[in-house]
């Protein structure tokens, strides 16, 4: 029990003194996850909206597949990205393995289905309401996509947030393609896994506290914005 108490005290010390090592790991984690979410938003928003608006053969199958991809195991994604980026893989010449870029790619693959699937649902619901009016005003389905995404903006924040939660919390994919290299590819989750196995509970606990606090803070801020905005606009 004293071990845990001791670890907790040390963890708080690391946090309060903004320990260099801890700050470095936190900032790399944020860079990787935020970049992955940005990539996923660029792909997932239009993809989800297109799936909601356009009817074509096989659409239902794609929607089911996309929903299934939301539960992709991170280690499997990590493994596949690893195979593609490894020296003998098809993209080996790029030399991306064990770099933050590789980690961004892996997390973007995990997050894009979440953003796309949730966007599809939100936009499909809004299209039911807007369809006649927008077509009456002369908008084609493709032309309506920006308007629908804009009008669904407050609900879509939730989709983006779910994606960020997934990216920042996963450990399997970044561990495999990043390699948990000190000062290069060490994120909060991979560091926690390592420090626990080494027995350095203080740093692990400190990083755990940061991870949970960040997640809480972002969710609380977004929730507040969403509730206020929806009250004002919907």
């Amino acid at each position: 029990m004293t071990d845990i108490t001791q670890a907790f005290v040390t963890a708080l010390q690391l946090l309060v003194t903004l320990d260099d090592n801890l700050v470095e790991i936190v900032s790399l984690s944020m860079q990787v996850s935020l970049s992955a979410v940005a990539v996923s938003v660029l792909i997932g928003l239009p993809l989800g909206a297109a799936l909601a608006l356009f009817k074509f053969p096989g659409r239902d199958a794609i929607v089911v597949f996309l929903n299934a991809l939301m539960g992709l195991p991170p280690v499997v994604v990590g493994l596949v990205v690893y195979l593609f980026l490894s020296r003998s893989g098809p993209l080996g010449v790029l030399g991306l393995l064990f770099t933050p870029t590789a980690m961004i790619i892996a997390q973007a693959i995990l997050v894009t289905p979440i953003v796309a699937a949730l966007t599809r649902q939100v936009v499909a619901d809004l299209w039911v309401e807007y369809s006649e009016q927008l077509r009456s005003l002369g908008a084609s389905p493709a032309g309506a996509i920006p308007a629908l995404l804009y009008d669904a903006r407050f609900t879509l924040v939730t989709a983006v947030l779910a994606g960020f939660g997934r990216a920042s919390a996963e450990v399997g994919a970044v561990m495999i393609v990043g390699g948990n290299i000190d000062h290069v590819t060490r994120t909060m989750t991979t560091a926690i896994a390592l420090e626990v196995s080494k027995g350095d509970l203080a740093l692990a606990l400190g990083l755990g506290i940061v991870l949970i606090s960040l997640s809480l803070a972002i969710n609380a801020a977004t929730y507040t914005v969403k509730v206020r905005a929806e009250a004002a606009w919907a």
């Binding site: 309401e129 807007y130 006649e132 009016q133 077509r135 009456s136 005003l137 002369g138 908008a139 032309g143 308007a147 804009y150 009008d151 004002a232 606009w233 919907a234």
Partner: protein
Amino acid sequence: MSIAMPAPVADLAPRTKRADILPLSVENVCFDAGGQRLIRDISFTLEAGPRTFILGPNGAGKSLLQRLCHGLLTPSAGRVRWQGPGGHAPGREQAMVFQRPVLLRRTVAQNIDYALKLHGVARADRAPIIDDVLSRTGLARFAKSPARHLSGGEQQKLALARAWATKPQVLFLDEPTASLDPAAMHAIESIIDTMHNEGTQIVMTTHDLNQARRIADVVLFLYKGRLLEKTPADAFFNSPESGEAAAFLKGELRW
């Protein structure tokens, strides 16, 4: 009714002379849904000028007929023929106002701005048009308010203002005052009247026969998906041709 409307200003006159899309010919139009024929072999011609009301009991196909003409629905058989190249596209020269206005989750002004943008009006030209239609519909003070915070009557005024801003040649109105109080209804009717006087062709449905008596010039009477008569309004209300219309006007029609 005496709702004061500001005098027309030059801004709402057509920007350029556009090809007339009227007369509209509806030729043997049928519409099926769910294995049922809901519109049966309807033919008529809609000429420019007279305010045309589509009347009939619930389920007669009034809203469907409007949507078929407007281009939101495609006939299962027959055709809807507008004049000119842009006639068929719903948004270009026609507009529609629905029973329940669908407003974007934006400000009042932005709702109109979006419609103008879809019509290809340059950004710089939009502001004066928006100001004009908002002041003419009495909504100027709400310009920056969220559209969905307006009252029901104001929301419908905004839907009309949005249609008005695009200067349609033809305006379809599907029971635009069905859920409004008398004051709001009169305000809406007054706007419709002004648009009519400025040359927009009005095609409207209503369940309010007094409203139809006040406004209509021509009545299309639908019953069970068929067009039973197309008659000048005076004649329709005083001596309808069909037995069904007579029963409908007396409130005795079974449906």
